[in-house]
């Protein structure tokens, strides 16, 4: 059955309410963008989960490789001075 042509894969992102970021919620197959939006609406917002939808062709996403995880993210582990809790201030300046 390898002669069958599949509809391309799309990733779906939902904004659950105004003021919040779009967040990845799942995937689906659709022939084009309009159909992907329609189907995302049917599948992922059946209980008012969203007020706005993005669909992105999965093959258009550029992602970091799992094997690069250490090289990319470990260097930040010892930069604790980037966090506010690194600084011990006198009690008199509380809430800074």
């Amino acid at each position: 059955m390898s002669d069958r042509k599949e509809w391309p894969l799309w990733e779906v992102f939902l904004r659950s309410k105004a003021g919040l970021d779009h967040k990845h919620c799942g995937s689906l197959h659709a022939a084009d963008g309009a159909m992907a939006l329609q189907m995302a609406r049917d599948v992922y917002t059946r209980r008012q989960e969203g007020v706005s939808i993005w669909v992105v062709r999965a093959d258009q996403i550029v992602a970091s490789a799992p094997d690069d995880k250490a090289a990319l993210f470990d260097p930040m582990a010892d930069k604790i001075y980037r966090h506010p809790t690194f600084y011990e201030l006198p009690d008199e300046v509380n809430h800074m």
Binding site: E6, L9, S27, D32, R46, R47
Partner: protein, 333 residues
């Protein structure tokens, strides 16, 4: 459960879980999974872990969409508009659950068409429960109460499964599944307050579904192939027998509320164990249904294949339309 055929030997002759070779990488992976760390789609994973997940998630997905068929049988005969809209919403949910799960399986490098082809050619399994007929309206209530109730028992621990995409799909599914069970119980409660004939219909449905529902949890732990490694890998968290006991303990008091009995003379509360005891399961029937000889195996599969074949022209036309639109846009640019 929906993936009870996971307890069968691997049909494609792929390496059995017991013969997994033990490289250092694999040992490290097992450690991580054992500590409850989550594995994501593109992370390295042992081939046996990947294959186990593809089998389990796809069996689960197939069960969701085949599960639409017994309920679809009653859409046109629902007793009121209210019940019809509820039933339609539930069936639509099952289709959505199938989609979430197929998408999770696809993150493991298998295509949707390969998965569906395995279902359509009988290579892949789905839950034995959907090979039983829905003879009366009470069956729709019993499917919600007992079948979906059993599914929830099994699916809640899967929300903590070690494979991230599967766990996230299960979180979404469990949120929606609760409505399925409650609407079923509500339907039965309504019938229980009705006429003698309606009460008899509820009792008859419980009599027919009780044992097949207990079979949904799969073979006894001692007869379950593959269970041990699945537990070690954090794919499975609670054993078949433990889940079955949890289900029986939760369900019997609910049955008392409905005023129904269960077709098991050995069913009784065991004070010492703090659980209900129940009689032996007819495993011959279970294996018959799993191996394709249940009341409706052929009809269910034929319905799925027909739906796929009859939809082929739609899939092709949509692709052709998309290609034409894209060509027009390129020309205009």
């Amino acid at each position: 459960m929906y993936t009870q055929a996971m307890d069968l030997p691997n049909p494609d002759g792929s390496p059995s879980l017991a013969s997994v070779d033990s490289e250092a990488r694999e040992a490290a992976f097992n450690d991580r999974a054992g500590r409850g760390e989550i594995v994501e789609a593109r992370d390295w994973m042992p081939e046996a872990y990947r294959k186990t997940l593809v089998r389990q998630i796809s069996q689960h997905a197939h069960s969701e969409i085949v599960g639409m068929l017994p309920e679809g049988n009653w859409v046109t005969r629902a007793p009121s508009l209210k019940r019809k809209t509820i039933l339609l919403a539930k069936i639509q949910d099952e289709g959505g659950h199938g989609l979430y799960l197929y998408a999770a399986a696809e993150t493991l490098g298998v295509s949707r068409d390969e998965l569906l082809n395995a279902l359509h050619t009988g290579k892949a399994k789905y839950s034995s429960i959907f090979n039983y007929p829905t003879l009366t309206w009470a069956d729709i209530g019993v499917i919600g109460w007992l079948v979906d109730g059993a599914a929830i028992m099994n699916q809640v621990p899967l929300c903590r499964c070690s494979y991230g995409p599967y766990a996230r799909a299960m979180v979404r599914i469990c949120k929606e599944e609760s409505f399925h069970q409650r609407q079923g119980f509500d339907l039965l409660l309504t019938m229980a307050k009705g006429t003698d004939a309606q009460r008899a219909m509820v009792q008859d449905a419980v009599n027919r579904w009780w044992w097949p529902v207990l079979m949904m949890f799969g073979p006894h732990d001692k007869d379950s192939q593959n269970s041990e490694l699945s537990m070690k890998w954090g794919i499975k968290r609670i054993t078949n027998d433990e889940l079955r006991q949890q289900f029986v303990d939760a369900t019997i008091p609910q049955g008392e509320l409905l005023g129904v009995t269960f077709p098991d003379p050995e069913l009784r509360w065991n004070e010492a164990r703090g659980h209900y005891d129940f009689g032996p399961i007819d495993w011959t029937e279970f294996w018959n249904v799993v191996n394709g000889h249940g009341p409706l195996n052929r009809e269910r599969l034929a319905a799925r294949v027909a739906a796929w074949d009859e939809g082929a022209w739609v899939r092709e036309a949509a692709l052709a339309h998309a290609a034409k639109q894209a060509a027009r846009e390129r020309a205009a640019a």
